[in-house]
Amino acid sequence: MRPALLELLQFSLLVALAPLLTGLVRKLKARLNGRIGPGLLQPYRDLLRLLRKEVVLAPNASWLFRASPYLIFAAIWLAAAIVPTFATGLALSRTADLIALVALLGTARFALALAGMDVGTSFGGIGSSREMMIASLAEPAMLMVIFTVALLVRSTSLPHIAEYLLMHDVGIRISLLLGLLALLIVAIAENARIPVDNPATHLELTMVHEAMVLEYSGRHLALIEGAAMVKLQLYVSLVAAVFFPWGLARDFGDASAVAIGVGLYVLKLAFAGAVFALFETSIAKMRVFRLAELLGGALLLGLLAAIFLYVSQEL
């Protein structure tokens, strides 16, 4: 009974907090830019408004175009639910290890990119093409990070990693730092944040994610926006679970542990939001083809991390 409840908590926590995180980032950015900015709850309002609007569909949009938003949201939601947020060892967490998690996000992206191609406009094509290009570089980097951790923990399943890092004092390893750096770059790329992409841009030629979803409207758009928010939160909780696993509840027996876990989780989110805002206000967007270097760099960081780990293990 209790595990089921906790799962439910996990799922609902995600949908509940994701827009808040986005809202927080926007608010802080606005503040840092010297604007007042919209309220923290603005994202909720946007989503609800979109949900209530009717969908305007291009004449030759296929079933794939209409099905994608639901699939994407579901997939990302599930993926996010697999990452430990406030507690490890939830029932579903066995469903996929880190690799499968990345792949599940890949499926969602696959669907989104296809949707971008479906209507047959040039902007959709640009969006999909660039999105896939970025992903094709980000995924290997991500996997390199996973290797690094896996080499340490001998497992790629998140609960194991988190618990291992909680139990053992691995100390500050160079490789772990490199891994963290790589993972952050990947997170930025995957979530279409500055400097890779600008979620708030309205200049078509610079759009990546926005261009891809250009033809979406109404509830579909809402789902896709929502999915993006959940995904951002997913990465935050991923970084948290792997590198800052403090306070994750391990026995579901006492409610206090759970409560602490949730509390700490919210704090972690807030901190991450602040970091994002600071980072994004401090730098400008890159040209699309500079990304290759950035992400290639991430890939190399990952590889380096793995190799450093070998060395440190052998010596």
């Binding site: 949900l51 639901y70 469903t95 890949g106 094509g125 399943s157 699309v288």
Partner: protein, 665 residues
């Protein structure tokens, strides 16, 4: 004796004769017989594996008179027979309708069953001679099948390249066997197994085996023949060539390296790993650059062969270091990928065949919007695309996931070279997988989505059920294996028990969660993912449609306010691949782009020219060809001498020999 395979072989023979005799009229019976035979093979092989796979052998008084022709069926060959049978059945079924669209079925019918028979024989041959005879017969049959479209000059050059490369491979294998037999006349595998080579010779044998089997499987840099040949053949044949023949080649590799070669040396694993990584990466990069649907698929075959070879390399490396549990894992990953690739690659080739029948187009730049006109084909092709892109919940991902599981444990290998090679190869593999996803977004997006770019695409019609059913079956299998991989992995246990006797084999205790190294290690469940996603999606649909809105209006695309653009303005495959071409192509293919932008007011059309160079071809094959041609020219002068000169040659030869004798005594 081998009743499992005898009957199918007889059927193939009958079908082939029918094909020779009947010509076009024999189409239905030939494909029915072949399908029947293949089905029998699959059924028999599956039962054989399920019943513990006790090896059966037979010796016929054929082949080399003093040893006869040995045949043997064991777990390994049975597994590949299963792959062969399964694919062959559905492909033959597909061909019942598709075959009628060949321009000269008379040139396909006799060789199609012969091709299947040849592959089956390779899988059961148990002595070097019969093995090579069957191997080359398989090549010959497929060569003739490729030549079915002999009217096109490009087909002829493809066929030529194919046969020559195949023969080079056979040559290498032949020398390898010669090494094992050590100049003796006994080529039975049973004897060769016993032959203990010194390290140097066994290394040479390894090299020969990799060249021989690799050239048939399409391992870079021996892959050059594969894309043109597979693209030129009729689609149902392409499906067999890509789906099965390359696997038969890998069977040869496994048989030689895991079974005959004796104890492995660790560096074999390293070589295979790097070769595999290179193959996977280059293969997929070539594919992204391609706009010919069938060539693109063929290049993906190269990529997947690379992935399998990586698995085999890991298995060898672990085996050489006596880490048998992980060796079993890597082997299982490789073999499962063999199975999976056979499924989705056949599905995709059949799909391309359906598109070909409907539109007579292979160039993706002329297609588009087929999802509306060929909904079923589109749907199954989508499943195939997701599967080959190694995305859950389909089968392609499971095998790659297993490979990754083996890779993350690569740190247990003692040798430093391997320690560093494994993560590097892991990165290559990840990159390859990601690029495969890029490539198939491109394929599905340009062929099936968007709007038709040319009239034939607009006029396309869905193909008949005879073609749809096999494709659907393949798609269903892709899903099934993706959700319950344990079913196939279970059949693999006897194989690893045979090749790695002292390994426990992978853990399949849990039917829902796949945890190959035991419950306290990484786990994955395609089934749960599928269920959860479907449930959540359904929930979302219900909630949103119930409480928010379900209204919907059709109106022209927004497209940032551009008025209804013509289909030509759609993003093409070329433009889709452009970022990749710029990032990787410039390095690997020396890709260059020349943009010619007319000045304002100049009515000239703007042009963008992209040029690619194939490093392998221009680095290895072109020079070789030039060398041969040069030598031919030089030596050819001998044809145009006067009798006196010829006499002088004779005189010179005589005096030389006399001198040799004078010196030697």
């Amino acid at each position: 004796m081998l009743s499992l395979i005898a009957a199918p072989l007889a059927l193939y023979g009958a079908a082939s004769l029918l094909g020779i005799a009947g010509g076009r009229r024999a189409l239905a019976p030939v494909y029915l017989l072949s399908g029947l035979a293949a089905a029998a093979t699959a059924f028999g092989a599956a039962r054989f594996l399920a019943n513990g796979a006790m090896p059966e052998t037979a010796v016929l008084p054929l082949g080399l008179p003093w040893i006869g022709a040995h045949f043997r069926i064991d777990a390994l060959s049975a597994f590949f027979l299963l792959v062969l049978g399964l694919t062959g059945t559905l492909t033959s079924f597909f061909a019942l309708d598709y075959g009628r669209h060949d321009d000269e079925p008379g040139r396909v019918l006799p060789f199609y069953p012969a091709f299947l028979a040849g592959m089956s024989l390779v899988l059961i041959a148990d002595d070097a001679f019969s093995f090579l005879v069957s191997w080359e017969s398989m090549s010959l049959a497929s060569w003739l099948l490729v030549l079915a479209t002999y009217r096109l000059a490009e087909t002829r050059s493809a066929a030529f390249l194919y046969l020559v490369m195949a023969s080079i491979g056979v040559g290498a294998l032949l020398l390898g066997f010669g090494l094992l037999a050590g100049g003796g006349g006994d080529f039975a595998f049973a004897t060769l197994r016993g032959s203990a080579l010194d390290p140097w010779k066994s290394g040479l044998f390894f090299a020969l085996a990799v060249i021989g089997a690799g050239s048939k499987a399409g391992v870079v840099p021996l892959h050059v023949w594969l894309p043109p040949a597979h693209a030129a053949a009729p689609s149902h044949v392409s499906a067999l060539m890509s789906g099965v023949m390359t696997k038969v080649a890998l069977y040869g590799l496994i048989r030689l390296l895991f079974d005959l070669a004796g104890p492995a040396q660790w560096w074999w694993g390293a070589v295979l790993l790097l070769a595999g990584g290179l193959t996977a990466l280059l293969g997929v990069l070539y594919a992204v650059m391609q706009h010919d649907l069938k060539r693109l698929l063929a290049y993906h075959t190269v990529e997947n062969i690379g992935i399998i070879v990586i698995g085999l390399g890991l298995a060898l490396a672990f085996r050489a270091n006596r880490i048998d549990a992980l060796a079993a894992l890597a082997l299982a990953a490789a073999l499962l990928h063999v199975f999976n690739h056979a499924l989705f690659k056949s599905l995709l080739f059949l799909g391309s065949g359906a598109v070909l029948v409907a539109t007579h187009e292979r160039d993706m730049e002329h297609l588009g919007g087929l999802i509306h006109r060929m909904p079923v084909t589109a749907f199954v092709f989508l499943i195939g695309s997701v599967a080959i892109s190694a995305l859950p919940p389909f089968n392609g991902f499971v095998s790659e996931w297993l490979t990754f599981q083996a890779i993350v444990n690569g740190s247990l290998l003692p040798q430093w070279l391997l320690k560093f090679a494994v993560p590097a190869v892991g990165a290559m593999l990840a990159l390859a997988a990601a690029l495969a996803a890029v490539c198939f977004v491109k394929v599905f997006g340009t062929v099936f989505l968007g709007r038709p770019r040319r009239p034939p695409a607009a006029a396309a019609r869905e193909v008949g059920p005879t073609m749809l059913v096999p494709m659907a079956a393949f798609a269903a299998l892709c899903a099934l294996v993706g959700i319950l991989p344990q079913t196939v992995l279970g059949l693999l246990l006897p194989v690893s028990a045979m090749l790695l006797p002292d390994s426990p084999g992978i853990d399949l205790s849990n039917w829902l969660w796949l945890a190959p190294l035991g419950p306290d290690h990484s786990s994955y469940s395609g089934g749960v993912i599928l269920l959860a996603v479907t449930f959540l999606a359904a929930l979302l649909v219900l909630v949103i449609h119930r409480f928010a809105s379900d209204r919907l209006r059709r109106s022209p695309a927004w497209d940032c306010g551009f008025p209804d653009a013509r289909p030509e303005t759609q993003y093409t495959a070329g433009s889709f691949a452009q970022p990749i071409r710029r990032i990787f192509g410039s390095v690997v293919f020396a890709a260059r782009e020349r943009i010619d932008l007319p000045a304002p007011g100049d009515m000239r059309a703007a042009r963008l020219e992209a040029s690619l160079h194939d490093p392998v071809w221009e680095g290895i094959y072109a020079p070789t060809a030039r060398l041969v041609s040069l030598l031919a020219d030089r030596l050819n002068l001998l044809q145009f001498q006067t009798i006196r000169r010829y006499l002088s040659l004779m005189f010179a030869a005589l005096v030389l020999l006399l001198l040799i004798v004078a010196v030697s005594q």
